[in-house]
């Protein structure tokens, strides 16, 4: 298989500090791959390594062709004092496109990201979500086969985030290899494949549902029945006493519990215990071996 991005056993050390340790990952054309992990997991370093802008301390990085990568960082700097059109024209010029190529591509891109009605607006006057859409248009104006985005949805509101992920899926369907980093586990659902990153290492790779299926427990929500108002300490004690309990965390008005797969869903008096779907965060906690550190109550 031909990969647009291929990292093999890549490490990157900054002094004695290892930001990324023996990471292998691939992105094929037409694939949307997410690097998912918390702050400090090494996502940005990995994105920069994949883009070829940072040299690895060890291992190999094989981009298909250097210079044909579109890159968008969370702190991507558009020119706030230029209009939407002017920003696009600027990036087109940087990438060496002719005026004719630029004009044709600009209209198409603005239509695609829904910014056509705002083309004469100053970039500085756009909302956060619109700014990210413009930044995306700027990153793909030279039609790179590979697109790398570092935390493009951080601080973007939920409605704009939904729109933005659709745009990224469009890019993959158009045949581009798309690599995205995000600290938000729930965004993994939007990716074809997820690389779960923890302290610079890959915990697991697979589709979101494959990763969730690795959790050997069943998840359930313990909630007080209507009309009762137990304290959080009461709820914690009730969760603690559940048969087959592996871990429990308070969640809003109830407690989210991980139980052994065969354990009965038997609620103590005054409570209801209902099965809930596993999420990627449950799987992450299990895979990172951190379940023991989860506070007991």
């Amino acid at each position: 298989m031909e990969f647009a991005i291929k990292l093999t056993n890549v490490s990157k050390h900054f002094g004695a500090h290892g930001a990324v340790e023996s990471v292998s990952l691939t992105v094929a054309p037409g694939e949307l791959v997410g690097i998912v992990g918390p702050d400090g997991a090494g996502k940005t370093t990995l994105a920069r390594l994949a883009a070829g802008v940072l040299a690895p301390s060890g291992g190999t990085v094989e981009p298909e062709s250097r210079g044909r990568v579109g890159y968008l960082s969370g702190r991507f700097s558009l020119y706030p004092e230029l209009t939407v059109l002017e920003n696009l024209a600027f990036f087109a010029k940087v990438y060496g496109m002719t005026a004719r190529e630029t004009a044709a591509e600009t209209e198409r891109l603005l239509d695609w990201v829904g910014l056509l009605p705002f083309k004469t607006r100053l970039a500085g006057a756009l909302s956060g979500g619109m700014r990210q859409k413009l930044a995306l248009a700027c990153a793909v104006i030279h039609q790179p086969p590979t697109l790398i985005l570092d935390e493009p949805t951080t601080a973007v509101d939920p409605v704009a985030r939904v729109d933005f992920w659709v745009l990224l899926q469009d890019q993959a369907r158009a045949g581009r290899a798309v690599l995205v980093t995000t600290p938000y586990m729930d965004e993994a659902e939007n990716c074809d494949r997820v690389v779960l990153l923890h302290q610079g290492r890959v915990l697991a790779t697979g589709s979101s549902s494959e990763l969730k299926a690795q959790l050997p427990y069943q998840m359930a929500l313990l909630i007080p029945t209507e009309g009762t108002t137990p304290s959080r300490a009461d709820m914690a004690a009730a969760a603690e006493a559940l048969p087959g309990r592996r871990w429990a965390i308070p969640l809003g008005a109830g407690v989210r519990v991980a139980l052994d797969p065969g354990a009965p869903l038997a609620a103590p008096p005054g409570y209801a215990l209902t099965p809930v779907p596993t999420n990627l965060e449950d799987a992450y906690i299990w895979l990172s071996g951190a379940a023991e550190e989860v506070p007991a109550q």
Binding site: P38, G129, A253, V294
Partner: protein, 242 residues
Amino acid sequence: MKNAIETRGLTRRFGDFVAVDNVSLAVPEGAVMGLLGANGAGKTTLIRMLLGVLAPTDGSGQVLGHDLATDAEAIRQKVGYMSQRFSLYHDLTVEENLVFYGKVYGLKGSDLQSRKDDLLAWAGLTDQRRLVTGQLGGGLRQRLAFACAILHRPRLLLLDEATSGVDPVSRRKFWDLIYGLSDQGTTVLVTTHYMDEAEHCDRLAMMNAGHLVATGTPADLRAEYAGGGSLDQVFVTLAKRG
């Protein structure tokens, strides 16, 4: 139960623009309340009024028993604030950051000393007290910022986009601290764009175009606006309703 926040028809205009329009909101003491809304929905303006830093154009309200219009100074002394950026000095040690903020809030001597030690233990930072803050991981830094925000024992605490981004285990510890504070009667106001954070709140208030468009527990809102689906669906439904 007493309400920590109670507003009636609270409104704020900027020229012709109505940033917050006729908001009536009640938040019981000790609640963990999530305030949701797209950018520009009016959350920040509402919060600034509730914290006593921006006067309402119309309507009235009490926060912690003080009138918003006439007693804003008393409110300001009883509220704590923590933002997404954490506002810590990276070149100071953990302990020095706490001392700095303690002094800003007017604590001194043995009172400051004991409060600092209590909070280091509470946040699980005693072993890291002499580390330079810039060397801490995201989860520890978040807990330090939290400790700094509650040094002066605020009765109302605002967490502005401050709960997300850290690793799942740190996040759970952080929410444990939040719940602990709420159990002791501190009211906590949380703003977030991330619906799995919103899921941690006792109750939610959703704003759109300056209006309060829905309030309830996460389960209530999911039942009413998403047929039992996700909070993300609730958000999209309410935001697109316009």
